[in-house]
Every structure is written in C-alpha cells, then in structure tokens.
C-alpha cells in the first residue's frame, strides 16, 4: 500500500436549501497527479471546488488530508492545509498592478509600510519560472491580456507554496496559444510534485494533461477513468449519462487507485 493520497473525499454531501447538489462524492488526488473533474453544467463541479476550498463547506462526509480527517470550514482552513484555488473568474482586482494582486491580503511590510521592492522581487522570481512573456508588473491587471491575467491568478495561488491546486476552467476564456501556455504550466506543477484538480470542458486538454478523470453527473459520482486507457467516447458517455454507472460507488473502489 502506497502513501495515503494528498486529499481524499469520502461520502461528501452538500445541500443548498431544498436542492441536494452533491451526494456521497468520492474523490482522491495524489501528489504529482492531475485529476480532471468532468461533468455537464450543473453536475456539481463548481460546488465541489467550493467545498474543498472552504468557500461553502460540506454538510456531511469526511475530508482526509494525507490520510487524516480534517475540517475545512473557511477558506483560511484550506489555505493552511496547502490548498490553493484559481477561480474561473480569477478574482483579481483590475485596478491593482500585478504585484498588488499577488500579495493582496498578505502584503509584506517593512517598518509598517508596504515593502514594494521585496514584493516585486518575489513576483519577478515567481513569474520568471512560470512564463516567458513577462507582463509589466506595475501596470493595472485590467490592461493585461486574458492569458496574462490567468498566469497572474495562478501565480497568486502558488505564493503560499501549496501542495494542491484547484483550477476551475483555466482555459475557458483563452485562445489556442494562451491555452497551451497554461497547460504547459499545469504540466510543470505536476512535475514539481503538486496535486492538481483540473475542471475543464475541453476533452483535448483532459486527454493531454490529466492522469485520471472523475466524472460527476447530477451531483453524484458517475465514473472514474484512467485517462491513458479509457477512450474519449467512454468518458463522454459517462458525462452525458449515456453510460449510467452505479450512482453510488463504494469507497474502496476509489481507494483502489
């Protein structure tokens, strides 16, 4: 038996008022692994991300971090564990510059004042590793291209040296060239031994990057696939519901990974 997974969800459920959005979700992410989270609109992907990132905590179920059960009640809990989230809308402040956005809420101070130089230095250091097309660090983020903004959002999530990163549709608003750059970046994160949960509608991205795919349908698990062996048709039919897997899979089957 290998080391326990970085993050494991066991029987996680979430209800918004009368609507049961997630039912008994099973999910495992290991270090150095990209797991694609797939599903049609309304399948519960974004809700699951919010559960893991602590924005809207789970009602029931167990969340395990490296094999021990943990509570994620607030975004700060997730951050302390080492979980970083890049939201689909990026959640950047358009009027602040790149440095300001990266360090928003955790500014470095010197004699009580913002230490712009140190923050700029670390930003430069971080971005140099991530991208070749360095944006103007002192330009407001609103004036950057969408690909650059995506890079800034990912860079921000990497600041706290997270172990697991959640990417919600990172390529949805990008052109081909920029998508490729972001995908290279994800590849790089995996090589560094991070766990990545990638939400995407783009099967091409999933095939190219992910090690495993987890399909949600109507708030339930609807299949686990090894991306290298499963065919695209199999995965898609699981997403659309053409192949109805057993809605509730016992935990040990996911654990078998």
């Amino acid at each position: 038996m290998s080391s326990p997974p970085l993050l494991a969800l066991r029987g996680v459920s979430k209800r918004y008022g009368a609507v049961q959005v997630l039912t008994d979700i099973e999910l495992e992410i290991r270090a150095g692994q990209v797991v694609a989270l797939l599903g049609d609109n309304g399948a519960g992907k974004s809700t699951l991300v919010k559960v893991i990132s602590g924005v809207s905590p789970a009602d029931r179920g167990v969340i395990e971090w490296e094999g021990r059960a943990v509570q994620i009640r607030r975004p700060a809990d997730a951050r302390e564990l080492g979980i970083a989230t890049v939201y689909q809308d990026l959640a950047l402040c358009g009027n602040l510059d790149v440095v300001g956005n990266l360090f928003l809420g955790r500014e470095i101070r010197r004699y009580g004042f913002l230490d712009e130089m140190e923050m700029e230095r670390r930003t430069l250091h971080l971005l140099e590793r991530l991208t070749r097309g360095l944006p103007d660090l002192r330009a407001p983020v609103v004036s950057l291209s969408s690909g650059q903004r995506q890079t800034v959002a990912i860079a921000r999530s990497l600041l706290g040296d997270p172990r697991l990163i959640l990417l919600d549709e990172p390529t949805a608003s990008l052109g081909f060239q920029q998508s490729t750059e972001v995908m290279d970046l994800v590849d790089e994160l995996r090589d560094r031994g991070m766990g990545v949960l990638l939400i995407s509608h783009n099967m091409g991205d999933v095939k190219a990057l992910a090690d495993r795919a987890v399909v949600l349908r109507l708030g339930r698990n609807n299949g686990f696939f090894d991306v290298n062996t499963a065919s695209q048709e199999q995965i898609i039919s699981s997403i659309t519901g053409a192949a109805e897997n057993t809605p509730r899979r016992p935990a040990h089957e996911e654990a078998a990974w």
Partner: protein, 427 residues
C-alpha cells in the same frame, strides 16, 4: 503653490525590464539617453492605455490661470494667490475624505451636513458652554468620525449603496445640527481663538516657507534615493538618477516659487501647511500601507477582495469614518474663515464642490483609481474659477456654468480613460 502635481505617477517605476538602467557597457551618454527614452516610452504606452493621471487637470489649471491673468493682471498677484491657497483648504479637506469614498466606487452625500454639525458642536460647546477650545475641537472632530462610522457600518452591513445611506445621513445630521444650535441662529466664534487662527495665522518669517519647501524636497529626494539604493543592491529594476533628480527638481521649482510668492504677501498660511501635510500623509497611507491597499482593492472588486480574505465590513466602515472625520475638520476650517457658525453652515454648493473637486482632480467615479492630491488640484481649479470670476466682476451664474463644464469634461475623461484601459486589456 502646491507641492505635488505628480500623484500616482510617483508610484510608477521607469520600467520593469529585467535589466537595470544603463546596461550594455556602451558609452555613458548613450546609456543616459537610453534610460530617458525608455522612461518616455513607458509613459507614452501608459497614456495610450488610458492612465492619464493628473495630466488633464494640470492642463485645465494652466488654461484657467492664463485666461484670468490675461483678463486681469491681479489674478496671479501674491495677494490673490495667497488668498486662493487659504480658500481651498476647508472644502479641500472635505474633498480628501470624498476621495477615500470614491476609491470604493461609492459616494458620500453627508459631508456637507457633517461639516456643519462639527462647526455647531464646537461653537455650542466653546462659546455657549465655556468648554476649553482644544476639547471642543476634539469633540467636534470625533462627532464627525462617529457620524461617518455609523453610516459606514450601516452601508457595509446592509449593502445599501452608500449614497442612499449618506442621503439619510445628510438629513439626520442636518437636523441634529439645527437641534444643537437650538434657538441661537448664528454663533460668533472668538476672533482670536484657536479655530479663528486656523485660517487667520500666517508664518510671517520668510524662512519658514523656504524651510518647509526645502524639507519637502529633501524628504522626497531622500526616500527616492534610499529606495533606489535598495533596489540596486537587490539587482531590481529601479529609477535612474536622472529621473529622480528631474522629479525632485520639478518639485523644488514648484515649492520654492510658491514659497517666494507667499512670502511676498503675508508668508506661509498655517491653513495651507496643515492641508498639504494632511494630503501628503493620507497619500502615504493610501499608497504605502496595508490599509490603503485594501481600500484600492475594494474599489477594484469587492468580491475579489473578499476572496483574498480582506475584512470588507471593517474597511468600508473605516473609509466612511475617514470621510466623516475629514468633513468635520473641513467644517471647522470653513467656520474659521468666517469666524461664525450658523444654521446655513455646511449647506449650499459645499457638498457639490467637494465631490466635484475630487473628480476634477482625477479621482475616478468608478472606484479604485485616484489620489488625495486630486483634492488639491481639483479645489485649485474650482477656486481659481471662482476667484477669477470675482476679480473680473463676472456674475455667479457664469461661474457655475463654467465649473459645471469643467466637471463634465473631467467625468468624460474619466469614463474614456476607463474604457480605453479595458479595451487595451482585451488584446
């Protein structure tokens, strides 16, 4: 006259290209030309991207001054400029508070009423009840802080737009002021008291004005050089010495010319000194502290700020408390100018002028962009127009229309620059 026409531009580095200035090992002259060229290139790119900063208002101010000077030789006389510099202070201080609220993308309509309330509180306590001046002053200012904080907290918790909350506040505080004043319609302040001195005192010794100018230039130079040294040591992009010296030189010209002109009348007015110190201090708070960064972040996107785990309620409350405090301080300066408080204190065009000053000075109505210096520049424009109209015997009707035109132009520039910034980002 004013010690800092450069505002946000102070924050801009000459560029972020990884190589420091003057690399390449070529002849020194070429390196210098290269630095300046790069600086100009960055400035031009930013102008095209819609970051116009305080450029338009400086142009407007120059046009206004040249126009009135050509109509009447007395306009740019030391006496008139000195009076102008004191006249801008009361409303200008209120406008500084407005800048904070505008940075959130909100409006505070209660500042006029709060300024009147503060004046009334001071007058009733000090003149009618014999409370010591300093204590009355503190209580009056704190009354503004509390009024602002109450509004801020209601705004933050209910998420009702601030202009509605403060509209209710306008009526409430105005009513409270009338209640405080009671039957006494007008209260005259002590002609030689502390508050009267706020706008009545001048540092008549020439050396004071020059010393203040020298200290200001010296501080700017010192901070810039220290920052540069640290950046050079860390091999980070930094401003070239030429740019630093050019900036300090420009500031020195403005500061010493102002000092010279003020000394030719009655010397440096205390009111102007307080105003500039407050504006510079709050500018540092906004641009260089954790709190200020949060204010800008909220103006850029409340949701993004919340997800970055900022305490949105606290920042919003604090911002309106600042605006209430500044309104109260401004109200005391306004009362000082006429050494009396009456039922009409804080009414009329005061509120509109304060908001107009902040916007004309270049603070965006859409939130997230602006600086406290825009209150100074905007007030200079508004007060210059008023003063010029008075000197040239033009009716007040024309003055309102011209000021309205300038305000409209400022709003249009604001909207256009915002749009071009966004269009720039869509590349």
């Amino acid at each position: 006259m004013v010690k800092g026409t450069r505002t946000m531009a102070d924050d801009r580095r000459t560029g972020t290209a990884a190589s420091p200035a003057g690399d390449g090992g070529g002849p020194r002259r070429r390196a210098v030309a290269g630095t300046l060229e790069r600086w100009v290139a960055v400035a031009r790119r930013r102008l095209r991207a819609g970051e116009v900063g305080s450029l338009p208002v400086v142009v407007v101010l120059a046009v206004v001054w040249i126009t009135f000077q050509s109509l009447n030789d007395n306009f740019l006389s030391p006496r008139n400029l000195s009076n102008l510099s004191v006249d801008i202070v009361g409303t200008g201080l209120i406008a500084v508070g407005i800048v904070f609220v505008l940075l959130l993308g909100e409006l505070d309509l209660s500042v006029g009423a709060i300024s009147g309330l503060a004046g009334a509180v001071f007058a009733v306590l000090n003149v009618q009840n014999g409370v010591p001046e300093w204590l009355s002053l503190i209580i009056a200012v704190l009354a503004g802080t509390v009024a602002g904080a109450v509004q801020g907290y209601s705004f933050a918790r209910t998420r009702v737009p601030a202009f509605v909350v403060t509209l209710a506040g306008l009526l409430t505080w105005n009513g409270l002021m009338l209640y405080v004043l009671g039957t006494s319609g007008t209260i005259n302040l002590d002609e030689n008291g502390l508050v009267a001195e706020l706008t009545g005192y001048y540092f008549t010794h020439d050396a004071v004005a020059y010393a203040v100018a020298a200290v200001a230039v010296g501080l700017v130079l010192l901070v810039a050089c220290l920052d540069r040294r640290r950046r050079v040591a860390a091999r980070m992009p930094h401003r070239s010495l030429q740019v630093i010296l050019a900036r300090a030189g420009g500031l020195a010209v403005i500061a010493f010319t102002s000092a010279y002109l003020l000394n030719r009348f009655q010397g440096l007015p205390l009111a102007l000194l307080i105003f500039l110190v407050v504006v510079a201090g709050l500018d540092i708070v906004l641009r260089r502290t954790h709190y200020g960064r949060q204010v800008y972040a909220l103006g850029g996107g409340v949701e993004a700020a919340r997800r970055a785990s900022l305490n949105v309620t606290r920042v919003q409350t604090a911002v309106l408390a600042v605006s209430g405090t500044m309104a109260a301080i401004g109200g005391l300066f306004l009362a000082s100018r006429i050494t009396s408080v009456s039922q009409s204190s804080g009414q009329g065009v005061l509120l509109l002028n304060a908001i107009a000053a902040a916007v004309i000075g270049g603070t965006s109505l859409f939130g997230g962009r602006g600086s406290t210096w825009s209150a100074v520049l905007g007030m200079l424009v508004i007060q210059s127009i008023a003063s010029g109209m008075a000197i040239t015997d033009t009716p007040a009707a024309v003055q309102f229309m011209i000021t309205g035109g300038v305000l409209f132009a400022a709003v249009v520039i604001d909207a256009l620059s915002r749009r071009s910034q966004e269009a720039h980002g869509r590349a």
